[in-house]
Structures are given as C-alpha cells and as structure tokens.
C-alpha cells in the first residue's frame, strides 16, 4: 500500500477517534445525569417525579428507536445551528451525541438500579441528602457497571461513526466506503476493517480492565 493511502488511513483513524471521543464525552455528560434521574425518579424513589420520569422515558425510547442514519439527516438544521455546518467530523459529533446520550442514559439507569436499595436507606438513615446519596453511594457503588456501560457506548459509537461517513462526516467508515467500495480497493476496505477491529478490541480491553480494577465486590486473595 502506498504511503499516501497509509496516511489517509491514519488521518481517518484520528478523525474517527476525535468524533467518537468528543461524542462519548458529551453523550456521558448528558446521559449520566439523565440515567441517574431515570433510575431514581419513579414513585417513592429518591427524586420521585413519576410523570417526568415517564415523559423522559418516552423521549429516550423514541430517540433510540430512530435509525441512526435517519436521525443524522433529520437533524441537519439543528446540526447546522450548533456546529455552523452539517459537513465534516465536527458536525458529525452532533448526531453522534444525540444518539449516544439516551443509549448511555439507559445503560446508566440499569447500572444504578443494580445498587442495593438498602444502601440508599442506610445513607438516608444518617442524614445524607439526595445529592450526597447520588455522589457518595450510587455512583461509586455502580462504578464497575458504569465503566462497562461506557465501554459499550464507545464501541457502539465507533460503529455509528462509520455511518456518518455517508453524509460527509469523514473518518474510517467514510474512507472504507469511498476507497474500498466505490473505487473497489479491497485492500483499503480490509485495512479499515482491521483498524476498526483493533480499536474495538482496545476499547473493550481497557474498559474491562478498569471495571475490574474498581470492582471491590468479589476480590479474592
């Protein structure tokens, strides 16, 4: 493979990492509080607001059931409003964030719900405020699950980021389609797939490692 092509792959890899990295950060910034709220706002819970809970649940489900490629196209005006353009990696971050935040929220909700309810009662019994319970009990206790959730979200984002290539988002997916498919360069397609596989493996291994490190529940000596 020529140095030019290798450069293209390297450049596309960085574009993908840029999109996925920023989208994962923003998706977590929105998804984490949303997920914590979803996990704690049913009737009788810490931030009980059953109606708001139900409305947010419907919005999250609606976003998650919209096919990503349709979401990307549908929100182009919004993307333009936020990013100033609808083309390029920076613009692609907008739909990636919007798709990942509800996904992360659901994963966070599940991880938080795994925390033993007795711990919430315990913290309440010594006068913890709801926010203290979230930050000192729920999130630390759910941390292994939260890290695995985030890992899963990043892996999914890598897949989504390949799709935004279709609308000029750049990155590995874009490269694979333009060179590998449209110009029929199977070695390019293969290279893109190999890089993606390596990235997913790397992310998953790092996530597993971190989750294991913070998990004190089943430590054996």
């Amino acid at each position: 493979m020529s140095p030019e092509l290798i450069n293209l792959i390297i450049q596309a890899t960085f574009e993908s990492l840029y999109m996925v990295g920023i989208a994962a950060l923003l998706g977590t910034a929105f998804g984490l509080p949303l997920g914590v709220f979803l996990a704690t706002s049913r009737k009788g819970e810490l931030f009980a607001a059953p109606f708001v809970n139900r409305v947010l649940g419907i919005v999250v489900n609606a976003t998650r059931s919209t096919p990503f490629i349709i979401l990307v196209v549908a929100i182009i005006p919004f993307t333009r409003l936020i990013a100033g353009t609808s083309i390029g990696s920076s613009a692609a971050i907008v739909p990636l964030t919007i798709a990942s935040a509800p996904f992360i929220a659901r994963l966070v909700e599940a991880a938080i719900r795994e925390v033993d309810g007795g711990l919430i009662e315990t913290a309440s019994s010594f006068g913890a405020s709801p926010l203290q319970i979230v930050f000192k009990v729920l999130i630390p206790e759910a941390l292994p699950g939260l890290l695995l959730a985030l890992t899963l979200a990043v892996v999914s984002l890598l897949g989504y980021s390949a799709m935004v290539g279709a609308v000029g988002g750049g990155g590995l997916g874009d490269l694979g389609i333009r060179y590998g498919y449209q110009r029929f360069m199977p070695e390019m397609m293969l290279a893109v797939v190999v890089v993606l596989i390596a990235l997913v493996q790397l992310v998953q291994s790092a996530g597993d490692y971190l989750a294991r490190r913070v998990n004190r529940r089943l430590r054996h000596h």
Partner: protein, 350 residues
Amino acid sequence: MVRFAGISKTYPAYRGKPGVNALQDIDFAIPRGSITGVIGRSGAGKSSLVRLINGLEKPTTGRVIVDGRDISALAGRELRLAQRSIGMIFQHFNLLSSRTAADNIALPLEIAGWAKADIKARVTDLLALVGIADKHDRYPSELSGGQKQRVGIARALATRPSVLLSDEATSALDPQTTRAILDLLANINRELGVTIVLITHEMSVVRQLAKEVVVLDAGHVVESGDVADIFTQPRHPITQSFLAEVIGDSLPVSLASRIVAEPSAGGQAVIRLQVRGAGAGDTLVARLARELGLDVSLLSARIDEIGGQPVGSLVLGIPFGMSSGEDAVTRTLAWLSQHQFPAERLGYVA
C-alpha cells in the same frame, strides 16, 4: 428518650395490593440509656416502628419524640440534622462495597461535613472501639460477617448519636458471633450511655441484652416493661410463645410416651410446674419433699435466666398409691399454689 404517642401507620393500597395497617395505637416510651428489645414475629410491624424513630418513615397519626423533639414533624435539612443523632445498624450490614472499612465509617462524617483530619482521627478511634483496628484498609468483601457488623456499628456511632437502632443486626450471624456482637453492644451502652433499641424476632437476643422489652403483635404493643417482669408473668399468647422458645414447653420424648391418662398401682402422678422469678428454683423440690413427706422424683427440668431471673419448668413425679394417691396429688397442688407456682397435672406414669 424515645416516646411514641398515639402512633398508627397505614400503607395505602398500591397497584392492586390492599392497604396495610402496620401499626396501631402505639404508646410507649424508651428510657434514656436503656437497652430496649422490640420483639415480634415477622410482619408484626417491627421494621416500621424502628423506621419511625429515625424519620425514614412518617407515622399516619401520632408523634414520635426523640430527645425531646418531634422527629415525625421534621423534614428536609432539619430532619437530616436530627438523623445524625440516631445511628442504625442493619441485618445485612449495608456497607459500601466500594469503600474500605475506614472509609465506610467515614461516610456519615463526610456527610455531616467534618474536616478530613477530624474524620481520620475519629475513624481510628472507632475502629479500636469495635475491636478491628487492624482492618482499617480492608474492603467489606474481605471481612467476615461479624467484622462487617463491627464496621456497621462503628459507622452508626461515628456522629456520636444518643440512640442506636439495631434492625435484626445479629440475624445473619452464627450464635458465637451473635454473642460477641451483643457483648459489644452491651459495652457500648455501658461506656457511652447510648440508648439502644433492638428490633428482633429472636428471644435469645432479648434475653442476653435487653433490660426492657416491647412485645409487638399484628401492629399492636401487647406487652411492655421490664424484661424479667414480662417474661416471668407472660400474659399474651405471643409472649408465652417467645418464652417457650427459651424454656421449651415440650416434654422429653421418652417421658411423653410413657404418660397415660389412668393411674396404676405403684406409679407416679406427673405434675408440671412453672418456675417464674426470684426465690424459685433451688430448694423447691427439697422443701416440697420434706414438708409433705413425699418421695418426689424429678422427671425433667429446664430452667434458664431472663433479665437475671430464673424462668423455666419442672416436671415432678408424685408417688401414687391406689388408696392414698389422690390425696398426695391434691396436697402437692395445694402446696404449689400456696407458694405461687403455676402447676398442672399431665397424667400418670407406671
């Protein structure tokens, strides 16, 4: 110290489940510095009762006064401040798996906004107090049940509460560890003067530790008062059933199988008498034999101590000749009744 005034607690019907009257007409006081046992079968309302004391639940009617303050009327920040003077320990310990023993104990102090240095010193003292100074950096998954409950106790005492609530704190522990934890609680009560409220379904816990007892059944207080008084004069069937767990009301199998309804020549009448309270046990059989001139035999005996008082039952054999037998039994029952030992004739053995 803790006073319940006209308390009732009703859980409303929810999602097809009918409403529940968990507690009704609760009026009693827990003296300062006491160790009070609240005993009842599961579903008697014990958990609801204890959660009213620290404001985790609100009564439907009535007031709960803790340290002169109506805790049931407090909410938000005021309630959270009041909760710092009420510690609680739990059946399943409820320790944070993500924190070491020391950091678990530090949690209520962090929540109360203590300075880091003060927390560190306090945690060191508390670990020593509960006898696990060497477990400072251990995670709960590395501790035994007894050690976990010690961390729970240290955590509950961290903010120097005046009341310590124990919700079945030894129910998940083996008898030996239970004993050690109860001893620790007794020490804490003695040395720190903390009022301890023990929620339990186990008579052994009340017997070993409590001075006062409240017997709860179907949401009502059926008896309350001094442990020795209540269990030497149990009035309510539920109290009697708890007492039976300690002293047993069943006869040894071989004896029970020999008892018949009709007397036989040269046999014995079988009399069971209850031993309740001071001056009871020791010389009873000897006095009975001497004063009535009978060769009384001891067929079975079970005596234990509750609140420092002997409590139990004796099964005696009274010689039963066909001619004079009924007279001996009558005189024995009269003598026992005169000396205030409740007694009954179970039958006869050959």
